[in-house]
């Protein structure tokens, strides 16, 4: 087991996602308590005290974001649950949406009350089919039961929720382009300042939180910040939903308590690397794990994993981050050059094309890596890739531009010999393998 549970604390059955099952687990009692006993400021105070960090990738303290919004300033506020889970390797929010949509909805009510948000949105990834169906059904149920709409539970508080489906752009998972998408315009990120909590959706103060972050709130309010702080580590309280995929025996979504041993998680809970191989590298939190934090490598090599604890601070200390919780295990014998090619193709394809460094740089990097893989690489190509990555970091409007360069830098830093080998010998050191097949291949 991976420590104490906050979200996955019930058995998944064919109807565990329904309102009836949720009420049976004590659902919607928190919002009733909040509406009855608490003031908006108290809720915010409790969330700040809990120290919960954003689960979308940047790990910014959620309460600090909320404090910028004054619930009594008289203007409309908006709350948005970011369910545009597009980061490669990440599928943890999907679990919440499919199996516990009411946890999200109740938590959103709590947040909406604290922020005085009359209208809330769930921006859900367009490709999500089952999660959308279940969430939409949950919204219907919640409205029918009087948890949304006018005068909720007779408290005088009114709140509506809209489920908005994205159109399939990775960049719309970035908070400001998500807002642009809801407003009906092109999904382009916006320049900061102003921050979204000052001028967000329709130029009004807006809080955008990840689905997982929001889903924790009902528990925090129900049990109190102090109780929440007892879970996890002092600097990173709580649990994380980790979606693990790649060359691993038991891929899937796990709820892991912060501070849990990484090696134990990989080798025991997830059953170790596929076919008993050794771990070559681990992408800890989505291929852009560094989304907003900045510097250093984001791919962990096998040695560094063993001694690590699963917690934000521990990863920052080794120059990576827990990011969006989308873990990808890479087994020994995988061609890192081809893997980088796959990533750069993704970044090229998903670059929104708004600002110069990412628009031109990602295409450039993609063309270079394509050439290297096809055996037409030139020695100076490695420096070109590093140059592109260096000048993408910190020069773009949104964090995705920064992140796009991290993979390249980390891959070249740790596996430069594979790149050089491919350029020199015009064939991959690992036969260009991306799959992890049972033995024989190692002969």
């Amino acid at each position: 087991m991976t420590g104490r549970k906050i979200l996955m604390n019930f058995e998944v059955t064919p109807d565990s996602h329904t309102l009836g099952a949720y009420l049976g687990r004590g659902g919607y009692q928190t919002i009733a308590k909040v509406l009855r006993e608490m003031k908006p400021e108290d809720v915010t105070k409790e969330i700040v005290a809990s120290g919960i960090q954003g689960r979308g990738g940047a790990a910014f303290p959620a309460g600090r974001k909320w404090q910028v919004v004054d619930p009594h300033d008289g203007q409309p506020h908006f709350l948005i649950a970011n369910a545009d889970e597009g980061e490669p390797g990440t599928f943890k929010d999907r679990w919440v949406l499919e199996h516990s949509p009411h946890t999200l909805l109740e938590s959103m009510l709590v947040a909406a009350y604290a922020l005085a948000a009359r209208h809330t949105f769930v921006y859900i990834r367009g490709e999500f089919d089952q999660p959308y169906t279940r969430l939409a059904a949950a919204v219907e149920e919640a409205y029918a039961a009087g948890y949304f709409g006018e005068n909720i539970l007779g408290s005088g508080f009114s709140c509506d929720v809209y489920v908005f489906r994205g159109a399939g752009a990775y960049v719309c998972g970035e908070a400001s382009s998500l807002l642009a998408s809801i407003e009906g315009s092109r999904g382009y990120p916006r320049n900061r300042p102003p921050r979204l909590t000052v001028k967000g959706l329709f130029q009004r103060p807006t809080v955008v939180n990840n689905v997982e972050t929001l889903s924790n709130l009902a528990w925090i309010i129900a049990h109190g910040a102090e109780e929440y702080r007892k879970v996890g580590t002092p600097k990173s309280p709580g649990t994380r939903l980790i979606s693990i995929s790649g060359h691993i025996q038991r891929p899937g979504v796990y709820e892991v308590e912060m501070g849990y041993s990484w090696a134990k998680f990989l080798h025991e809970d997830c059953g170790g690397v596929l076919h008993g191989r050794k771990l070559k590298a681990l992408i800890p939190g989505g291929i852009s794990s560094q989304v907003l934090t900045g510097h250093g490598a984001k791919v962990l090599t096998a040695d560094s994993v063993d001694s690590l604890l699963l917690d934000h601070q521990a990863l920052w200390d080794v120059g990576s981050s827990l990011g969006s919780g989308g873990m990808i295990a890479i087994a020994e014998g995988t061609c890192m050059v081809r893997l980088l090619q796959v990533m750069l193709r993704f970044y090229h394809h998903e670059s929104c094309g708004q600002c110069t460094p990412c628009r031109e740089g990602m295409g450039w990097a993609h063309r270079i890596i394509d050439r290297i893989v096809s055996g037409e690489g030139r020695p100076e190509d490695i420096d070109r890739l590093l140059h592109i990555s260096k000048f993408n970091d910190g020069t773009t409007i949104c964090g995705l531009g920064d992140a796009a360069g991290y993979a390249t830098i980390a891959f070249i830093e740790h596996f430069r010999d594979e790149f050089e080998y491919l350029i020199e010998h015009k064939r991959s050191k690992n036969d260009g393998r991306l799959e992890c097949l049972p033995e024989v291949a190692n002969a």
Binding site: N191, M362, R384
Partner: protein, 473 residues
């Protein structure tokens, strides 16, 4: 007023200014592509990098002023970033300056020499894209040259409000495209996107491959297309680059018309009608005086006109609303006491022309009606039935309304069937051949200067009026 330090020097700043604005206002140049003083901040070209000491580089166009902040515009960090951004921008730009109309006034060209100067770091083929894409029948788009600064898109959203342009696709295959409802084609301000395009992606059909801009010079002028009187620049060949053979008409032709930026009247914009003034000015000219259709010299015609004026009992004058302030005053000084003067509109709105809008276009399609009415009154231009002499100055007179038997003196500039029917016809100069001023609908006086010499057989109206009044020829 917060004070900020740019390159170590203190400068006064407005709290709602950006660092880029403060720098530019104080003569510190920071390069920019997507920023435009009249448009919203897009912050997408990333060339205006400024280093805030202790905080690293960020774009200047979106950097708010904070009291006491210290920024650097020429640090090593800033230079290396600019250079890298220019490498990115020129990565897929075709660099076909040799055949680009924008060459010579292209900021990408200037910045490349100023801030980059090295050849492309990439040896890979450039991304190919659409060339010669017709955004409308006036504007050609070259998507390969486009650097996606979005100035044109923002112009149609924020200034002309036609919402006629947008960006399609993503990443380095993004394309500027017109909206499918044709609103860009109908946008009366569409040609401004050619001016604000920092590179040669948007080009004017009427100027397409016409001239290299360094062969041209500009003369400040005023658009006579409506009573707004926008200030414009008329571009024509430089005297030292006159064509000696082939079509020498090029030497006195209008190459193109651009706005003459000013804060009083039209800012940096003009409408498409203003771009097409050549269609008005370059109609076939009347090049000689006539007496009832028979060629005569200007002097002979003036003598005959003077005789008619002296003999008339009830002379009426239709004054041109295209006359300059100087001409109108000369008319009043010389002939005002002899004639019943009525102001006539020389031009009425053409079929399909935009009558009026919120930006610049005004319903009266004559530049100086206001001044003319101030001098000659607002009576409608209806010729009294007992008039026995009618002096028509300029266009727009319905000759069927002139009482039968009345003699006609016509002062016109262009060939027209009426010219030969007038008892006296004297050709007069047009705006591009003389200097003067117009007073626009807001009361702002704008001056224009001569671009081309006046033809020998053509009179100058200002001098002619004194002649007609009987002063020494």
């Amino acid at each position: 007023m917060p004070e900020i330090f740019i390159n170590g020097q203190p400068y006064e700043a407005d709290p709602d200014q950006t660092v880029l604005q403060v720098a530019l206002a104080n003569g510190i140049y920071v390069p920019y592509f997507c920023w435009h003083p009249q448009l919203s901040v897009a912050g997408n070209c990333r060339i205006c990098m400024i280093e805030e000491e202790g905080r690293g580089v960020d774009i200047g166009c979106n950097m708010p002023v904070k009291a006491g902040m210290r920024v650097l515009t020429e640090s090593e960090e800033v230079r290396s970033h600019r250079k890298a951004i220019l490498q990115f921008i020129t990565l897929n730009h075709p660099v076909d300056c040799g055949i680009c109309d924008k060459a010579g006034e292209c900021v990408l060209q200037d910045y490349h020499y100023e801030y980059n100067g090295s050849p492309s770091m990439s040896g890979d083929p450039k991304v190919r894209s659409t060339k010669f894409y017709d955004l409308s029948d006036r504007i050609v788009l070259d998507n390969e040259r486009c650097i996606l600064c979005s100035r044109c898109v923002r112009f149609t959203h924020e200034i002309s409000k036609s919402h006629g342009l947008g960006i399609e696709q993503r990443a380095d295959v993004s394309l500027v495209r017109p909206s499918t409802d044709g609103s860009f084609r109908d946008d009366p301000y569409s040609d401004n996107v050619v001016d604000i395009c920092p590179v040669g992606a948007l080009l004017s059909r009427s100027f397409f491959y016409k001239a290299r801009v360094w062969y041209l010079t500009k003369t400040p002028s005023v658009c006579p297309g409506c009573e707004r009187g926008c200030r414009i620049d008329i571009w024509h060949r430089k005297p030292e680059w006159q064509v000696q053979s082939l079509d020498t008409g090029e030497n006195t032709a209008i190459a193109r018309i651009t706005p003459h930026e000013n804060s009083e009247v039209n800012g940096p914009w003009i409408c498409n009608k203003g771009r097409d003034l050549a269609r008005i000015f370059e109609r076939r000219r009347a090049d000689g005086a006539m007496l009832k259709g028979k060629p005569a010299s200007v002097a002979e015609a003036a003598t005959e006109a003077r005789r008619l004026i002296k003999a008339a009992a009830r002379p009426v004058a239709l004054v041109s609303s295209w006359g300059s302030n100087e001409e109108l005053e000369a008319f009043r000084a010389s002939l005002g006491s002899m004639f019943t003067a009525l102001v006539k509109p020389d031009h009425l709105p053409a079929a399909g022309e935009v009558l009026e809008d919120d930006l610049l276009i005004r319903p009266d399609k004559n530049p100086n009606t206001g001044k003319a009415r101030e001098l000659f009154g607002t009576a409608p231009a209806v010729i009294p039935a007992d008039a026995d002499l009618v002096l028509v100055w300029g266009e727009g007179c319905d000759f069927s309304k002139i009482p039968a038997g009345a003699r006609i003196i016509l002062l016109g500039s262009w060939l027209a069937p009426e010219n030969g029917h007038a008892d006296v016809f004297i050709p007069v100069s047009i705006q591009t051949e003389r200097s003067g001023h117009y007073t626009n609908c807001q009361g702002v006086v704008s001056g224009f200067e001569a671009c081309f010499p006046r033809a020998p057989g053509v009179a100058d109206a200002e001098a002619l009026f004194a002649q007609l009044a009987g002063a020494a020829p």
